[in-house]
């Protein structure tokens, strides 16, 4: 667009913009490009750094050996991350099982059932849960939940002892307590996303259900839940990502025993907890440091996988909606973006 357009009398054509504006445009564009590239470079650098620093451990045990070997013993310099990986999966799994139903119920209550005047305050209260520092959750779990719930856990373990991974001795700190704390910690985000998604359910659909003679619960089941399902799943995955990466609260209540616990109420360890606990003592030991960083790498890959799965789930739901000519539930799209 730099070509000059001849005009009678040599006056500047309206097709020539002010040169200053063009320059600003170009600067703006290159600055943004540089920033975007910078973020990309940071991620690549981050990954490379982890791999290089983890190399001593990875080359000694092999990637598979390190990840799947059920033996983490600092005194013998043997590092297999399997008990940590399993601990991370168990605690986050418990968090999902307990936290997601409560979060969905909270979202439903706030959106569909509670008096309108309570809606604002309740939303703020739930979101306030996210403002509590995680170390405080950890302390509360350790000082309150662990002693108070010991009896309840023991009676649960005794009553349902016939189930696998339930019966037996109850340790104070345990997978279960860690999962419970994590459930409380993921509640705000899962509930906020669910609420957001549910508020995009068109009034048309809700009225359709009510006019058919649906009770409030039937209306929720027929109109609200199916429509918001993909978004809620996306929210749960985000919660899972948070639970997997949570460090300090879990460290305080999981017991920090580097073997796979025999039951739900046994002590264990997680990837994040082991890193924060052992990093100080590992400073002079290259192998130990490498093992911890490799544990970080495993954690990184795990969260990457969870996020990818969440995105895949949500975008599959979107494609299905598009294929049928329907509008994409806005909430699902939003959850996909947040999840990215």
């Amino acid at each position: 667009m730099e070509a000059h357009v001849a005009t009678p009398g040599g006056a500047p054509s309206i097709f020539e913009g002010a040169p200053g504006a063009r320059a600003a445009d170009r600067v703006f564009r290159s600055v943004l490009t540089a920033l975007a590239l910078g973020i990309l470079a940071l991620i690549v650098f981050f990954f490379v750094f982890l791999v290089v620093k983890a190399n001593p451990a990875l080359s000694r045990f092999g990637i598979f050996g390190f990840t799947f070997n059920n033996d983490w013993d600092v005194s013998r310099s043997t590092y297999g991350a399997w008990p940590l990986l399993v601990g991370t999966l168990i605690t986050s799994g418990i968090a999902l099982i307990i936290g997601v139903p409560v979060a969905i119920a909270t979202a439903l209550y706030i959106n569909e059932l509670c008096p309108r005047r309570l809606r604002g305050p309740l939303t703020v209260l739930v979101e306030l849960l996210a403002a509590v520092p995680s170390v405080v959750y950890g302390l509360w779990g350790f000082l309150v939940l662990v002693p108070k719930l010991k009896g309840a856990q023991q009676s649960l373990a005794d009553t349902f002892g016939f189930l696998p991974f339930v019966g037996g001795h109850v340790a104070g700190p345990s997978y279960f307590i860690a999962g419970l704390i994590l459930a409380i910690m993921i509640l705000p985000i899962v509930s906020a996303i669910s609420r957001e998604v549910m508020s995009t359910v068109p009034a048309d659909h809700k009225e359709a259900a009510l006019a058919l003679g649906a009770t409030r619960w039937e209306m929720i089941r027929t109109a609200v839940l199916p429509y918001s399902r993909s978004g809620v799943v996306g929210g749960a995955m985000l919660g899972l990502g948070r639970a997997i990466g949570e460090t300090i609260a879990v460290t305080l209540v999981v017991g920090n025993a580097p073997q796979i616990g025999k039951s739900l109420f046994d002590q264990g360890y997680t990837l994040a907890a082991v890193i924060v606990n052992e990093f100080g003592e590992a400073a002079t030991d290259r192998l130990h440091t490498g093992a911890l960083i490799a544990a970080g790498l495993v954690l990184f890959v795990l969260t990457l996988l969870v996020n990818a799965a969440a995105r895949a789930l949500v975008s599959r739901a979107e494609r299905r909606q598009r294929a049928t000519g329907g509008a994409v539930p806005a909430g699902a799209a939003a959850a996909a973006r947040v999840g990215a």
Binding site: A209, L210, L212, G213, T222, P226, T324
Partner: protein, 294 residues
Amino acid sequence: MTGDGFAASQTAAAAGEHGLSRSPQTRRPLVAQAPSASARPTKAARRVRLEGLDAYYGDNHALRGLDLEFEPNKVTAIIGPSGCGKSTMIRCINRMHEEIPGARAEGKVCLDQVDVYDPSVNVVAVRRAIGMVFQKPNPFPTMSIFDNVASGIRLSGASRADLRDRVERALRGAGLWDEVKDRLAEPGIGLSGGQQQRLCIARTMAVDPEVLLMDEPCSALDPIATLKVEELLADLKQRVTVVLVTHNMQQAARVADSTAFLLDGELVEVGATDEMFTQPKDSRTEDYVTGKFG
């Protein structure tokens, strides 16, 4: 069947305890019915009578003391300019009005003898007895064609055994069966707008209502789809009382047995459709139907 809970004996209704609750065992139908060949008793259309109906949105007084009667097995059209309270009025009949935050209604809406606003009346049973079709086709987007029609039947807790038959009957009743019988498992929102609206009619009729409310059902449809819905009305009124809100006066003239004209939340005139359009008694009606305003 739970949906039959609406049927109340006249004496019980007179005694002030009527059958809009969901305990059907002891209720006898209001209108005596001949034993039907089908397993399911078909229900009779009912007379709907509004008595001194007022409706509010917060402080906004949208309907002012409406008295109006809808004959069973007839189509009554409600016409009037935008904002005159047409939609509000029919949403008061099946108590959907109160779903809007801040909205409330006063007065009586009687279904034969039973006031649907009576405190002892179960709102869910009211909506089962009084079906509604909305302005915009609103099939459930996550459900197949079959499930859309079945959704209302499933809600009423009816036996699953004859579900397929009832869905087929409802789709035939909406003139949609031949168009969709080979793709019942496909999503309802894959249909065209007109088909979607007939799907919604099938969904509503599948639960055997006694009254059918239609809130400008053709305003989002093209002329051919509109024609199909209008043709349906002649069949539908054999089974139910039809209340049709429309802003299309030609439509009212084509399909309605009687027509009511609303203005600013008040009833101006009601009468047989031909009289309303040829020799209205009120000058405002004449101005409206001849296109002087609205």
